[in-house]
Subunit: 307 residues, 2 copies
Amino acid sequence: MAILSIDFGGTRTRAAWFSHGLNMQARDEAPTPVGQPPSAVIARVIEIARQVVPPGQKPAAIGLCAPGPQAATGLILHAPTLPGWDRIPLAQIVADAFDAPVFMENDANLAALAEYHLGAARGANPALYLTVSTGIGGGAVINGALFTGWRGLAIEPGHIKFPLPDGRIRSLEDLASGTAIGRRAKERLAEGDQPSALRNCAVVDGRTVGLAAAQGDALALDVIAEAGRWLGLGLVCLMHLFNPQAIVIGGSVANLGDLIFNPVREIIAAHLTDPAFNDPDLIRAARLGDDVCLIGAAFYARARSEV
Amino acid sequence: MAILSIDFGGTRTRAAWFSHGLNMQARDEAPTPVGQPPSAVIARVIEIARQVVPPGQKPAAIGLCAPGPQAATGLILHAPTLPGWDRIPLAQIVADAFDAPVFMENDANLAALAEYHLGAARGANPALYLTVSTGIGGGAVINGALFTGWRGLAIEPGHIKFPLPDGRIRSLEDLASGTAIGRRAKERLAEGDQPSALRNCAVVDGRTVGLAAAQGDALALDVIAEAGRWLGLGLVCLMHLFNPQAIVIGGSVANLGDLIFNPVREIIAAHLTDPAFNDPDLIRAARLGDDVCLIGAAFYARARSEV
């Protein structure tokens, strides 16, 4: 009754073999060849996964983690990290390759499940999870079970929309992700002549803006604070709608620490209807690191295959 | 095993006596004396409720509907229709008056439950309910049960926050409720000299703006379309977060029909990440009318008292 877990990410693909008791017994990872067509990418994902299957064995179930909102039918609808993918039936292709049932879910949903069972949100009800990195994804665990809505598309906090001062309407993902931080810093550098260490960087992206901010660079600090205020407004929305007991935040942007969380906290303090919606322990750092989706996918496949 | 149901509203208080099978056997209503201090208001609410209790009988349970977000402990935290009320232990006072257990909930939550069991959202999962009138309230039914979050404060879609072009941050309730429509029309009348039938109205409020718009008044139509765009942005947020099967919309603003729903639909069409989040049958008009909260409160009290 072993479980194969596959975390198909926009940058790397990870695979692991779990016992029924969810002990990880083999693990492998390799870059995802995102530049190639979907069929070649999928073939490579299957190849990586085969590395962890013990000779002569077959998984009882496969947990498959993939980016973007997903229909309950196992289609990837689209994802910022997978340009050109449109309604690809990934779950069916992987099921055929291993002759085993595949339970596919969104990366942030599976991370939410893992952080709820083993990480920072243990026992919290409701427990929300946000990953803030290249994009912004989210998951919700309500009454101990993954909440995915009618067609399996919930929850997508990266797609909360806000109007900008110039009238355009933008996603939270376009305002507060690492990608957004990099783009906004480039705009600010082009707009004026404010001195900044970023003017000497070959690459201006979320990572280098974070490094410059940590050194006290005023422009970088401003850009991150702006992203933090948008993220705070997104969290205010989640708090008024879900009244969560915990919101776990993972992803590279969360690693910026107080640089991003101070403006988040200011916006929350200013805009909650009632302090009862908040709690000192409400917003928590993710705990499970890089294997969070592998663990979540294994949990999910075990639970779903035993129903 | 009869149930007393009380709908304590900012304008009127309604009470009904239900059989265990939820047949309404007596009903009364009267204005809520909102100008008076909380103790006098509560005494009057209890007096109205006593009218429907048959002589010599005692309710097995009391369902109590009240405005605003409420702690699971039965406190009213605050409500736009009840200025000056702050953490009033209404549930306990009513329980003492009738010597029966009280199950108190927010008006929109109970309306959600009633529309789910008997109205426009029958069988939908998740089912969301929004009331758009003086304020904006909401409720969610997930897997057939009322979803109220950690401390009983979910869901409050009226408190989704949006930034305005001038940098101020405002609640959806301040942008799209009937109160907001009236206020915005007054601002527009004061700002310029655009001709409008509203200049001849003694009272400019949500109701009179709606009447003027129905006659084709351009200023009134503009103000309602603007409120509709904000409401649409709020619904986009709810759709991406909950992936609901139905959103039932009640309240006086919903009665404006296409005047408000056309701009709502335009914003939804323009800003959903994927059409799979939508459905022709997703947004529905409320069906249960003025007694929706009495019915929801009776349902709720019966379910909770039998756990």
